[in-house]
Symmetry: C3
Subunit: 304 residues, 3 copies
């Protein structure tokens, strides 16, 4: 079973993942049936960086379970401005709440914070580090659309900096999955991640172009290529254009390929995809609620 | 009946208005009796611009109905900063909530957003456009204080830019009302609004001075004249001074004239009015709760 | 009994304090037992200045009592930006809520606001003025750790500007307490506070060094010395260093001396103290919940 805190997707065994995903399926099937799971439980939301999706879906999840949240608010409106350390902040807040969700710009922040508190803590993003509840909702979405075994997935875009991608790739090594990574040369998977995947026995291939591998894919997971990674605008436009998905791009794909994206997107996926049956990214975002309900349900239970 | 979304006061028939106002009266008579109307329902508050009154009264209304809210927070703390489109933002959020309240600086934003979501959406202000729940609470306040038939109302101040005024004037054409508009020449009703009112068969008169028409008024609705509309401070002071309400101003008014204001006021109405029986603007603000309860009650019901 | 509003610790009699503290003890003993005390009650949080502890613990307290909060949000996201007066803001908000918690940068703001509203109002800090619920949680913590009679307390640090210190010192005059004030010459208690304490018959001593008085103390209450009080960095470092608590400092103290701090701390107390049995400051922060539950319980009751 999951321990008291979820800090990285690496701590999740195949069994952990399946337990959370199964429970999420139950919650998704009847969202209003869970209102008596955790009455009166309070979840503290500590977001030191902007968030819409993650914060709102944790809040929704807590409330759908019969609990509620208390929100630290923005850094500007908190004592952090007065120079308080993160350790002190979470030690104070654990006295108010039954669990903590933490997003922080510094890598390792969640791990450090978890060492200072006795309540369950979820890492909701620590800089270039981890964001394991995103990985769980990605896995849930993949399972719903294509299953997690005998799966061929393409992961495309910024593979160098995207924490989402690294966690997902690692978690997929628990399953029978062929992983194809598609990116420009300059945004390839870091050597350390590639090494980890090989160590875990993963089936991994890398490509600079989508074309050759597209017909084999059950899932195409697209991420944003950030303008600021490129020295000049022309270079960015050229690269970004090559990795943009349009209805024409999908002509050579399986009819039921599921197109995913962690959102927000800028223009990696054309709006013309939105109303096709391939568009899976809004469902993916919505899956944040049942998956985070299942996660909180598990963490808050260990608290009783 | 109201449809799934409330985008503009123009979509409200006399029957719609009366249904909402009647229900609001019931809620106002016994605010604590509604706690079991919508248990567990979640309303998403998406405010892309500052708000106190509208946001807090929607939040109060949702909670008094037994529901709750999830708040997108300020634009600075959301994914909007990362360049997400409004359409994408609301499509994600509809997966978390049973309804959306949207305020956005761009005219037409609510209409566009409503086309992208399946949950009920309330326009809580779209730039120079509409703010129909404000109109409903204005109508409720007028009805409580003077009735909506055989009514003589004066609407004074900035009639050119005030979206509140335009929506109210239009909604009043559903009733037997004589509308007097009082403003400096430079802030008169736009020609298009005047045309609409005449088309709707409204009884409309325009004035530059309050004096002549004041004795006939049952209701005097005052709005703020914004400093930035005037090229220099002297000109502003001269104009603003003419349209400022003091106890002396009301000497020639009916004893029970109801003085209204959408708030916030700066100094259009002297604080000396606050404790008179004519001061209706705080009640007007408070009426936001039962009126928005009635509105949400209607919209969330269509959701079942 | 407490009146409708809590504006300053000076309004609290010994009996008031004991009533709140006794009730807080009951809530602390069984936090989940209070969920049916105030179902449906709404507390408005109006924070015109940053806060973590005070705001989150009031929110937690309201929710643990079965109620909920509505949050004005930051000044930047409210109508205050449009030039609304504080009096108007609270008069509007009282129509939404069953009580108001107000923090405001201007001294006297809470008193003025309370005169304009009929719902209970708690002063959660008015600039250099008062913060009485902090005093109550300080008293609670002292009582839990050392009792409030036959007590010897040392209060150290910035005694000149700290509103927390002034309120606590005054409240302690209700009990049999020997108060020792330890600070650099430039940050001594203001003459007016010293005068008040003598008038109230308090046992008061002032010191520039902790050393001599430390062995006698049951409680050592430390506050932050702010850098900006000093003309240059060297001077600040010299002074701050003298009033910093380390495990070595405590060698000469009673074994069970309780070290308190209103938090946030910067480095007035070494992290090496955190895991000792003397460290009482995190408990002190956590005590904000039962104490504010007891306070709200009392104030909201008078509302029925």
């Amino acid at each position: 079973m999951l321990g008291r805190s979820l800090l990285t997707a690496k701590q999740l065994s195949r069994e952990d993942i399946e337990t959370v995903l199964d429970r999420a399926s139950e919650f998704a099937a009847d969202p209003s049936a869970a209102g008596d799971r955790h009455p009166g439980k309070l979840l503290a939301l500590c977001f030191f960086e902007p968030s819409t999706r993650t914060k709102m879906s944790f809040e929704t999840a807590a409330k759908r379970l019969g609990g509620d949240v208390i929100d630290m608010g923005s850094v500007e409106s908190s004592s952090v401005k007065k120079g308080e350390s993160l350790a002190d902040t979470v030690r104070v807040i654990e006295g108010y709440a039954d669990g903590i969700v933490l997003r922080h710009p510094k890598q390792g922040a969640a791990k450090m914070a978890a060492e200072h508190v006795d309540v369950p803590l979820v890492n909701a993003g620590d800089g270039a580090g981890h964001h394991p509840s995103q990985t769980l909702l990605d896995l849930y979405t993949i399972r719903e659309n294509a299953g997690l075994d005998d799966l061929t997935i393409g992961i495309m875009g910024d593979l160098k900096y995207g924490r989402t991608v690294h966690s997902l790739a690692h978690a997929l090594t628990n399953f029978d999955v062929r992983q194809h990574f598609i990116s420009p040369q300059s945004l390839k998977l870091p050597r350390s991640v590639r090494y980890d995947l090989h160590e875990a026995g993963a089936h991994v291939r890398e490509h600079e172009e989508l074309e050759a591998v597209l017909p084999a894919l059950d899932v195409l997971y697209v991420t944003r290529i950030q303008r600021e990674r490129f020295p000049d605008e022309d270079e960015y436009q050229k690269v970004a254009g090559q990795y943009r998905i349009t209805p024409e791009t999908l002509d050579d794909a399986k009819d039921d390929v599921a197109v995913m994206h962690p959102l927000p997107r800028v223009d990696e996926i054309s709006a013309a995809i939105d109303d096709t049956s391939n568009a899976t990214y809004f469902d993916q975002a919505h899956n944040g609620v049942p998956v985070r309900m299942a996660l909180l349900d598990s963490l808050l239970q260990t608290d009783d």
